[in-house]
């Protein structure tokens, strides 16, 4: 078997060195009743060819984003990834290396993490960032837990513009810690309701911008209101490319910024692996969850990098840790940082401008479709429209015409009563022809 180097001769030789007669002797501690003799009801081993055949057949039953007109966003975005990225992340030394607990032989990983942390701090406009979390949704939940630790208060308010999955994850995790979570009603423009909900028991408010409906929001007034009450402002961003164009969370007064980093360097991959970005003000760094990489010197005075402030983490603090997290999204952080290094500031700004430009074209085209109403007043590359019909049915019908029209809001939040609302996104990969095809298909549906 191609992944097993031992030969029968090796095994026999090794058993005699050990002083055992058979491999069963080494399993002697397993109670007889628990040892399996019968073969499992599972297939026997297969060569590469057979495996490829089965997987290719399964892959062929899926509609990749790049196979036709495609307008899904809602927390994951189709962007072009430069060829260099995938090539570098497959280098053995990056792909098959371990967590950098032995810094002398992991400076590659550690320097990458230091550069990544610096980039994330710059993007979010905050002082420090960690070495990444699993994804944006768990980063959001962790931020709320952190606010509880910092303020020693138990209430959190989630804006009606927060991605419903993010709200559900935050609610699930935070209620485990006995926090009281208030989820405000879904709203295209959610600012006023958030401010009204802050009181002196509030640990934090969580606001997304651009929000789940694509609305670009000035959170500085929310920041003022939160700070006046002694609460923290957590800003969530699901489309990382937007940092290239919009005011940063830090600039607008955020205490903690979390984001989904998938848009930069990481493919869609049906939901994972993704990468959670997490940044905060300097004064809160010891309450920050996750891995942190720091700069230092080695025994010969050369600059190097190490994991640091580890006493916050599970392997030392155990039941008093800031989180139970044990991994970061290492390889995705590498992909993110390579892509961002290739873009540079100039490239990121151009990319963001291009995304916004395409989204405006999409908006103009859809606004001209009878029965379609543009709901989002200010947007980056994604916005909500009201259709003259059920959004789920419309999307399903368009699948038959080779078009993935977007994400029905009701798929994310069936209880919100927004069955005719569709979330559509355009990126640099969206073409005029794509937009024309969508418009034609929608017009066809309404018989116009």
């Amino acid at each position: 078997m191609r992944y097993l180097p031992l030969t029968p001769a090796d095994r026999a030789n090794m058993l005699s060195v050990i002083g055992a007669k058979s491999i069963d002797d080494l399993f002697i501690d397993v109670p007889g009743v628990a040892q399996i003799r019968d073969p499992f009801d599972l297939p026997r081993h297969a060569g590469e060819m057979e495996v490829e055949r089965e997987l290719a057949a399964l892959a062929a039953m899926n509609r990749p984003a790049g196979s036709g007109p495609f307008f899904c966003g809602a927390g994951a975005y189709k962007h072009h990834i430069p060829a260099t990225v995938d090539h570098v992340i497959q280098r053995s030394e990056f792909l098959t290396s371990y967590t950098p607990y032995q810094p002398e032989i992991a400076q590659g990983t550690l320097q990458v993490l230091f550069e990544f942390q610096t980039q994330v701090a710059a993007l979010t406009g905050l002082d420090v960032a960690n070495a990444s979390m699993y994804d944006g949704s768990t980063a959001c939940a962790e931020a709320v837990m952190m606010a509880q630790r910092v303020t020693r208060r138990n209430k959190a308010v989630l804006s009606g513009g927060l991605h419903p999955h993010y709200a559900a994850v935050t609610q699930t995790i935070a209620s485990a810690e006995s926090m009281e979570i208030t989820r405000l009603a879904a709203a295209i423009d959610a600012e006023a309701a958030v401010i009204a909900s802050i009181d002196t028991d509030t640990a934090c408010v969580v606001v997304q911008t651009p929000n789940a409906f694509g609305t670009v929001t000035d959170v500085s007034k929310i920041a003022e209101a939160a700070h006046a009450a002694g609460a923290l402002l957590i800003v969530v961003t699901t489309e990382a490319v937007s940092f290239g164009l919009l005011k940063s969370p830090g600039e607008m007064g955020a205490d903690i910024a979390v984001a989904e980093g998938q848009s930069i360097g990481v493919g869609l991959s049906y939901g994972g692996p993704y990468i959670g970005l997490f940044a905060c003000k300097e004064k809160y760094v010891r309450q920050m969850p996750g891995r942190l990489c720091g700069e230092t010197l080695d025994a010969e005075g050369r600059r190097g990098f190490v994991l640091t402030l580890s006493t916050r983490e599970q392997h030392i603090r155990r039941d008093k840790a800031t989180s139970n997290i044990c991994t970061n999204s290492g390889l995705c952080a590498l992909a993110f940082t390579i892509h961002l290094s290739l873009l540079g500031e100039r490239g990121l700004k151009s990319l963001a401008a291009l995304n916004h430009s395409r989204a405006r074209e999409l908006r103009d085209a859809l606004a001209a479709v009878p029965g379609v109403e543009i709901l989002t007043p200010r947007f980056f590359n994604e916005f909500a429209v009201r259709l003259p019909a059920n959004a789920i049915e419309t999307v399903e019908a368009l699948v038959g015409r080779g078009i993935i029209a977007g994400v029905p809001y009701s798929r994310l939040a069936p209880e919100a009563g927004m069955d005719d609302v569709l979330l559509v996104a355009a990126t640099e990969t969206t073409t005029e022809a794509d937009i024309a095809a969508l418009v034609a298909a929608l017009k066809g549906r309404t018989g116009q």
């Binding site: 010891r286 580890s310 006493t311 030392i316 603090r317 008093k320």
Partner: protein
Amino acid sequence: MRFTKDHEWVELDGDIATVGITAYAADQLGDVVFVETPDLGKSLKSGDAMAVVESVKAASDVYAPLSGEVVEANGALGDAPETVNDQPEGLGWFAKIKISDRAEFDALMDRPAYEAFLGSL
């Protein structure tokens, strides 16, 4: 100066007790990188978790040797945690407590008793 079995020391001046960790404890911990001191006004019973002292690889709880109210915390440790290693039984103090029960202090080990206790470890 009096001592506890958990390697805290106490220096009493009137009813204000200054508390820290002993040279033995500081030595066992290795390089101290951070100290989490208690909040002012916090009310403590003897044996309560009062502070946390961190080295690179460990975080250790420090327990209140006496009951009382925290009236001062050593802010200088924020910038210079190494003071705990350099002067654990002097400038490396953690907090000052206004004690509520003098008898608790009297019950603590004196230095010869603490040294004997260390010898038995």
